[in-house]
């Protein structure tokens, strides 16, 4: 792949704001978040449950349930078009065609009363003018591409006849059927067995590189991030708190929240070795988004918090080259490391 092509930006999200109107008040699920994805690049979005990762993804394809959710600001530019300005029909032509999604739950994400093949055929025929026979052939080819054995027979089967791993492969086949420019994988391996997780991740990355697709990988598993992504953004309480290349992030995490996430990763201990080390945790809970503290949302849980943290929200600064963090004390941490 040429250098110029690698650098081509597929998706550019600027100042995205998605809010939810609930009985307990309005909350900002995605608050002024910006990021971009280049062709063939993998961007990981990490954070705890409820930090706004999935809502960010759903906002890109405009599938945030409305009501209660609504995108109230920003832009989502895919290959030069602002998706937030498209009408519904034009947006449908983008979904499943230029942007595809893979969801967390392969067991429930496929329609139980439709054959696997038919579900892929539908994705193909919604966006391409091909005969049903040709579309079926493409569906079988896609199943072969995601390494499902006996794809001709599997295409005839129903979701309940496939294992979880196989269903996720079928989801991937469906998502990539129209060769999208961008694939969004929302916790694609969380619901799978550990052995299957590695296979599915390897498959996604392999296909993404072969097809030159941009990939947004949403996960809470930093191990997955280290294996697959080139760049990472860390989200907390609806805001982007850190962005860096994978190397830089793992070498010197500059936000206390990222440090907490890394410390709470269990390390594999060699058989027979004794370890008294307790698994670290981040004290406290993610704050309720309807009732955020003034200043930094992480301050109540942060060991490094000073008075300023509780009063003013820190700007997202480029603390080191290509490494941004929103923390008043990021500079100190960068110097200390």
């Amino acid at each position: 792949m040429s250098e110029a092509k690698t650098a081509e930006t597929v998706l550019d999200v600027r100042n995205l704001q998605t809010v939810f109107f609930t009985n307990s008040g309005l909350f900002r699920a995605v608050d002024d978040v910006s990021f971009s994805v280049r062709r063939g690049e993998t961007l990981a979005i990490v954070g705890e449950s409820g930090c706004g990762k999935s809502v960010s993804a759903l906002s890109i394809v405009r599938l945030v349930p409305d009501p209660p959710g609504r995108i109230v600001g920003g832009s989502v530019t895919l290959e030069g078009t602002d998706l937030l300005k498209l009408d519904d029909a034009a947006m449908r032509a983008v979904r499943g065609n230029r942007i595809s999604m893979i969801f967390q739950e392969p067991m429930t994400s496929l329609n139980p009363v439709m054959r696997i093949g038919d579900q892929i055929v539908e994705a193909v025929r919604l966006h391409q003018k091909v005969s049903s026979k040709e579309a079926w052939k493409q569906a079988v080819d896609m199943l072969r591409l995601v390494r499902i054995p006996e794809p001709e027979r599997r295409a005839q089967e129903y979701p309940h006849q496939l294992s979880g791993g196989m269903r996720q492969r079928a989801m991937i086949a469906m998502a990539l059927a129209c060769r999208p420019a961008l694939l969004i994988a929302d916790e694609p391996t969380t619901a799978l067995d550990v052995t299957i997780q590695a296979q599915i991740l390897a498959l996604i990355v392999d296909l993404q590189q072969r097809l030159g697709t941009g990939l947004i990988l949403i996960t809470h598993d930093l191990g997955v991030v280290a294996q697959t992504a080139q760049r990472v953004i860390v989200m907390y309480a609806g805001k982007k708190v850190e962005e860096a290349t994978v190397e830089s992030l793992f070498e010197t995490p500059l936000h206390p929240y990222t440090r907490g996430l890394m410390a709470s990763m269990p390390a594999v201990i060699a058989l027979g070795a004794k370890s008294d080390a307790r698994l670290a945790e981040i004290p406290g809970m993610v704050p309720s988004l309807t009732n955020l503290p003034p200043g930094c949302a992480f301050a109540p849980r942060c060991k490094l918090a000073v008075d300023r943290c509780r009063q003013e929200y820190p700007p997202l600064d480029e603390v080191k080259p290509n490494h941004w963090a929103a923390c008043w004390r990021a500079g100190e941490m960068a110097e200390a490391s």
């Binding site: 499943g96 969801f103 329609n111 139980p112 129903y158």
Partner: protein
Amino acid sequence: MFAYIVRRLFLMLVTLFGISVIIFVLLRVVPGNIVDILFDAAGFVDPADKANLERELGLSQPIVVQYLHWIGGLLRGDLGYSYVSEKPALEEILPRIPITARLAGLALLFSASIGIPLGVISAVHQGSKLDYALRVVSLSGLSLPSFWLGLLILMASVSLFGTMPIFNPNPKTWLEALTIYAVPAMAVGFRSAALTMRITRSSMLEILRQDYIRTARAKGASEASVNYHHALKNAVLPVITVIGIEAAFLIGGLIVTETVFNIPGIARFLVEALRWRDYPIVQNLVMFIAVVVVVVNFVVDMLYAAIDPRIRFGD
């Protein structure tokens, strides 16, 4: 699947046998038989005459013998003679079946074709004014007894058009046939339509929350395709069950509706026969209705399997 069908068919036979025993015994537990009724009306009569008539009709035999006689005849296709008209029971029952079948069929068609789409619309627009309006209408459908609704329709048509649909066994035009059957069918089907709508609505609301609906949207499917193709196909299973059960309830509703609209169908005929303790007619008619209900249930199960592959390939 084949073993399942065979097992179901066997169960159907057992059910029908059980029903035949229950009908037979219940009928004879009810005090008085046709002879009592006839002789009561006539005042004092010689008990010997009464015993003679009972013997003639076979009512003096032990109940087990009477049962075997009936079942034996049924298996040979001999339904016996009506006590009242003295015509063969088959000749009395057969011409009335198509009338009721048309009414019941139309009523079910009405309830499915009105109830399912309205249920989908109500679910898709949950919380809207349209949803509330539809729910109020459906609640009224569940609360209005069909005979009262039938009377209201008759009174309304008299006051509006100065006439009302009167049953004609040989309608001249297609339109006339439709009015004769459609109006009572709607009166009796309104309740089923309302029930179907409510079940469709709640089932759709449940299905629309499923992950695969989001997947369908993420594929770029239109709202119509999401609602009718992806969601309804999953949501329709409980609706089919309800329509199957309603098919059985319909017979009860038809008894009053046929009376109100003066339609000579089997439902009204059954009540008349019961009043005269016309055993051959009642037994055979109830048996016929039982067969219909059992077959409808079987068809519902087969439809389930046809729609849901998890049932088809399970087992």
